[in-house]
Every structure is written in C-alpha cells, then in structure tokens.
C-alpha cells in the first residue's frame, strides 16, 4: 500500500511512529543506530509518575512489531544521505557490522569464551561488559553483538569458535542500502548534556558525582549494581543524597532551554533512594520545580516525605573532599544564606540535548538556535528532536508524526 515511511530512531517516539503508521496499513522501515530498539527509555529504571518499568510498554510494542509484517527494522544503522522531495525520497542507509548474524540464539557461549571487555554503553560506562555481548537483558532484537575492537583479533576468533550455530561472522562488512520512502520521520532522540561542560561541577572528579541517567542504571535491576543504590566510589550505601537541578539547562552558557523532564526525574529518583534506603536523606537543589500538569500530584507525594528536602538554590560549586564526599556551595535564595553542604552521593540533573544539535539531518531542514527541528513537510521531526519532552508526549508526538507522514504517502 503506497510508499514506505522511513522512521529514523528506534526510541519511544520512533517506535510509536513506526507502529502507528504500520497498524494503519502503511509499510515502514525503522532505522536505529543502536543494536537494539527502545532508545533512552530502555535505560530507565522506572517512569514517573507511576513508577512503572518502561519494559512493560516496550514489551507490548516489540510484540506489535513482531506481529506486524509491515515493519522492517534495521539496527546499527544510520542515515547518511537523503535525496528527493516529499513523496519521493531516496535515503541512503549505512549499517555497521554486528559480526553476529540472524543464526544467533542468544545462548551466550560467545560471551563466555571471550575475555576482552569494553565499557558498557548501556550502563553509561559505569561498568565493563564482555566484548561479545547482549546489549541488555531485554534487548530487541534478542541477538548478540561483537564489539569491533575484537572483531579482527584472536578474541573475535574465540567468539567464533565458541558459537555452535555459525552465527559469528567476523567478515561482516555491514551494509549500505537505499530505501525509497514517501516521507521521513526523524525521531533521533536526545543525548544527555555533557556534564563535564559545566566545569564548576567538576564532573569526573569523584566517582560519587554522577548524572541522572547514570542514576537510572544504578537503580535498575539490569544495571551495574543489580539495582542496588550505592556509591560508585566505595560501594557504600549513601546516607545524604543531593540532586542538582538545571545542571546545564536553563543556562545561556549551556542549554538555554528548560529540559522539561529533569525536575520530575529527580523527584522520581528521590523515591528510588527513599524506597531502598529508609535512613537516607535526599536534598533537591532547584531554581523552580517544574512538575507540569498532573505530574504535580507526584511532586506533592514526594514533598510529603519529610526526608526529602527542597532547597531553592542553584548550586555554584561542587568539590570532592578527602572523605570521598562532595561539598556543594550555594546560596539559599529563600533565606539569603550562603551555605556549604556535604553529601555522599550527588546526582547532576543534566538535561536533554536534541541529537539534531549534535548531528544534523542530511537534508535541508530548519532548526531553532538550540538545534530542535522545526515543522516541515516531508521530513517530519518527532519526539525530543522537536522539544524536550517526557515519554507520553513523545508517544503522542510520534503518533502525530505518523499521520503527517501518512498524509504524504496515502494514495501514492
């Protein structure tokens, strides 16, 4: 039926766009850079405000993809060029080698055979993973990946020798293909703002100074600590946890816009800490708490916990001390008091930078000065490349993008 719709990005908005278009009867090619679908939400422990696991919804979506022959999924793939006009695009897609073909049963023998490890991108570098690995426990496609660093060497050969199914293909060169599509939905998502750019927070100076995305992995069952919230520095349970809001957002020197989700993310992560560590105290340092619309209920709920404190202050300096703790300096703008506060685990609420600010779409597309995609015909932005947004808004946006694409390809 008609021309295909190309969806770039297999995160929440991309998957939503692909499925909603396919379930309305249109053919979809879904291109994802990672070896798995799910994007950033796959790396979350829980969603706010329900504190439910993202995999619940992803499982349904993956099942919808499995059951829908209209969707073709290309992982480890990136769009390198777009030619043509609305209604008739030729899109060049480059697929990186996975070194594992579809004979893989995810039995795990290659991972056992290989000794080399690589930093685990899924856990934001908090741990190491074998260089032949399943990206994470719920990965879809459920297939191993061999890190390019070992593909050409003896470790790669070990993986190959260990596989009884002939699934390891060290000769894999990847692929370059051309997709013909009537419309392109660009749902390339976001990247956490590089915390080290906010130099006065000294990110990197202490293992106990982490970002909010890392905190998700610390709390997640599949994370580096199997879900135990502990100080990466010494494995101890934190007793005084701080969340630093607007660590880069609402700052003309960094991200001039509000990243929209960080307040709620920190409120949510405060509940992770409080649920696991009844003795722990949490302090949230903020400028404004932005718990929009019905998320206010969640803020109200967290505020009711007397061990969660809110201090109106943008933190001006973070420095590690000899005890391995972190000393925060700020001005409490409600009292005027300038303070130093010691915390044993500090979480930077870094914001979302649209991936289109870092990598532009290879076509004529308008952006605002922050790099967010503006409305256009033919190449349609969806999700966090259009504005920072929470999950349900990304779904909504993905669905809307699907219809805009359908309007272009319907009847062609």
């Amino acid at each position: 039926m008609g021309q295909a719709i190309l969806v770039v990005g297999g995160g929440m908005s991309g998957v939503s766009a692909a499925l909603e278009a396919a379930e309305a009867g249109y053919n979809v090619v879904l291109v994802e850079k990672n070896p798995y679908l799910g994007g950033r939400v796959a790396q979350l422990h829980q969603y706010f405000p329900k504190l439910c696991p993202p995999y619940c919804g992803l499982e349904i979506n993956f099942k919808r993809i499995k059951n829908n022959p209209r969707i073709q999924v290309l992982t480890m793939a990136e769009v390198t060029g777009i030619e043509g006009a609305p209604g008739a695009y030729k899109v060049a897609v480059k697929q990186a080698p996975r070194y594992v073909n579809d004979k893989c049963t995810a039995c795990g023998l290659c991972g056992q055979a290989v000794e080399a490890t690589v930093s685990n991108p899924f856990n934001y570098g908090l741990d190491q993973i074998k260089a032949a690995y399943l990206p994470h426990e719920m990965a879809f496609p459920y297939r191993f990946v061999i890190d390019p660093s070992i593909a050409g060497g003896p470790e790669g050969e070990k993986a190959k020798a260990a596989c009884p199914y002939g699934a390891v293909d060290l000769e894999d060169q990847g692929a370059e293909l051309t997709v013909e599509a009537g419309a392109v939905i660009w749902a390339a998502g976001w990247t956490p703002y590089d915390a080290s750019k906010v130099e006065y927070y000294n990110f990197g100076a202490s293992p106990n100074l982490i970002t909010n995305v890392q905190m998700e992995r610390l709390a997640a069952k599949g994370g580096p600590t199997s879900g135990k919230i502990q100080r990466p520095g010494d494995g101890k349970e934190p007793k005084k946890v701080a969340f630093i809001q607007c660590a880069g957002s609402r700052d003309v020197n960094h991200l001039p816009f509000c990243s929209t989700i960080c307040c709620l993310a920190s409120l949510k992560q405060a509940t992770y800490v409080r649920a696991q560590l009844p003795e722990a105290e949490v302090t949230i340092y903020f400028i404004d708490i932005r718990a929009m619309d019905r998320n206010e209920d969640f803020y109200t709920k967290v505020k009711a916990d007397e061990k969660v404190k809110f201090v109106k202050s943008k933190i001006g300096l973070i420095q590690p001390n000899e005890a391995g703790n972190l000393v925060l300096e700020g001005e409490n703008t409600a009292s005027g008091e300038r303070f130093k506060a010691e915390h044993d685990l500090v979480v930077l609420a870094t914001g979302m930078q649209p991936n289109t600010a870092l990598n532009k779409i290879p076509a004529e597309v308008a952006y605002d000065e922050y790099g967010f995609v503006q409305a256009a015909e033919g190449i349609i932005g969806a999700g966090t490349v259009r504005r920072p947004s929470e999950v349900h808004v990304s779904v909504q946006d993905g669905t809307a993008a699907a219809l805009k694409a359908i309007q272009l390809v319907a009847g062609r």
């Binding site: 700052d251 003309v252 020197n253 400028i287 202050s313 933190i315 001006g316 300096l317 001005e331 703008t333």
Partner: protein, 200 residues
C-alpha cells in the same frame, strides 16, 4: 505586615541611569553569583540580593551598601551566570552611580579610582608611580606621608628592581602624555555625553 511597598521608581532609575543597569532584568534569582564571588564573605548581600532589592525599590539599602564597590572584576560570576547577566558591569555601574549621587560606598577605592581615571584622562596612560603617590596623598599631607612610609619598602623594592620610575613627588617629573591626547579627550567627552544618565 509588609516592611515596605514595592516601588518602581528606583529600578527605573537604575535601568535608565546605571551603566548596564537593564541587565538585572534578566536575573532569575538562582543564587549562583552570590556563591561564586571570591569576596562573598565580605559582602552583606551579594549581587542576587542587590538585584532583588533594586526590583523592590529599596534605594537606601542598595545605594548605601558597600558591596557595590567591592568587585575586583574577576568575572567568575559573569562566566557562570545562567542568564548571562553582566554582573560586573552592573556592579561597577551601581558604584559609579552612587558616586555621582555623592554617595561613597568605599572611600579608599573611590579615591584611588579617581586618581587613576584622572591620570588616564590627562595623559592617556597610567603612570604606575604617579598614581599610587597621588592616591597616598589623598589622605591629606600628614596621613599621606605616613601612608607613603608604610608603602615605602614596596616602592623601594620596585625601584631597585627596575620596575618603577623615580619620582620625588606626584607629578615631578610629569608623566608623559600620548600623542593623541587631544583626540582622546574629545572622545571621552563625547562618550560621557552619550552615556546613560547624561553624564557631563
């Protein structure tokens, strides 16, 4: 009971008459400047609170506060301010505005700065011997000499290390003027006329 009503006249006065005064409009009261300033412990309010006082119309508190003349221009606050407020320029502007009103937030700095600027205005450059000498003398002849004796060791050291010219008294021998001093003077006059608050 409210301690005092908001009064818009002062903030408008600041927007109109103070160099970079309008910058404070953008402040969102985050507090970073107050904690960033290396002289924060010497300050009663710090920049954020001063902006807050200006908004509220608390003229006396601001104009009589020595904080506005403490800034050393280190730019740490400017660099961190998430709203890009030129904190230093506003602080300098406020101090200057206070001086123009006849208020002297910090006596010594005022005296020194006056000598400094006069030297530029007259010669186009700073004579690093002349300025401190003149400044020391602003304390009056007796105090001046006393202060000068205080600083004597430093002066002697600089002199002996070829880092200071020899002078017997302020202006003796006179500082050299730049060639374009006449043009520069005209420029400064013009610039003054174009500055906020219609300086002369």
């Amino acid at each position: 009971m409210a301690s005092k009503a908001y009064d818009k006249s002062f903030r408008e006065e600041v927007y109109e008459n103070v160099d970079s005064g309008e910058e404070i409009k953008l402040c969102m009261q985050c507090g970073v400047c107050g904690i960033t300033c290396p002289l924060r412990d010497e300050m009663t309010y710090g920049p954020r609170q001063i902006w807050s006082l200006i908004r509220a119309g608390k003229r006396e508190e601001v104009m009589n506060c020595s904080d506005i003349m403490l800034c050393t221009s280190c730019y740490a606050c400017k660099v961190r301010c998430p709203r890009g407020v030129k904190v230093i320029d506003v602080m300098h502007g406020l101090a200057r505005y206070a001086l123009r009103q006849g208020i002297v937030p910090r006596k010594e700095t005022s005296k020194f700065g006056k000598v400094f600027w006069d030297c530029i205005a007259k010669t186009g450059r700073i004579d690093e011997t002349d300025v401190p000498m003149r400044y020391t003398m602003t304390a009056g002849p007796i105090h001046g000499i006393f202060n000068a004796l205080e600083m004597m060791d430093i002066g002697r050291a600089l002199l002996s290390h070829k880092r200071m010219k020899f002078k017997v008294a302020p202006g003796v021998p006179p500082a050299k003027k730049i060639k374009g001093i006449r043009g520069l003077k005209k420029m400064l006059k013009k610039a003054a006329a174009m500055s906020p608050g219609k300086e002369s």
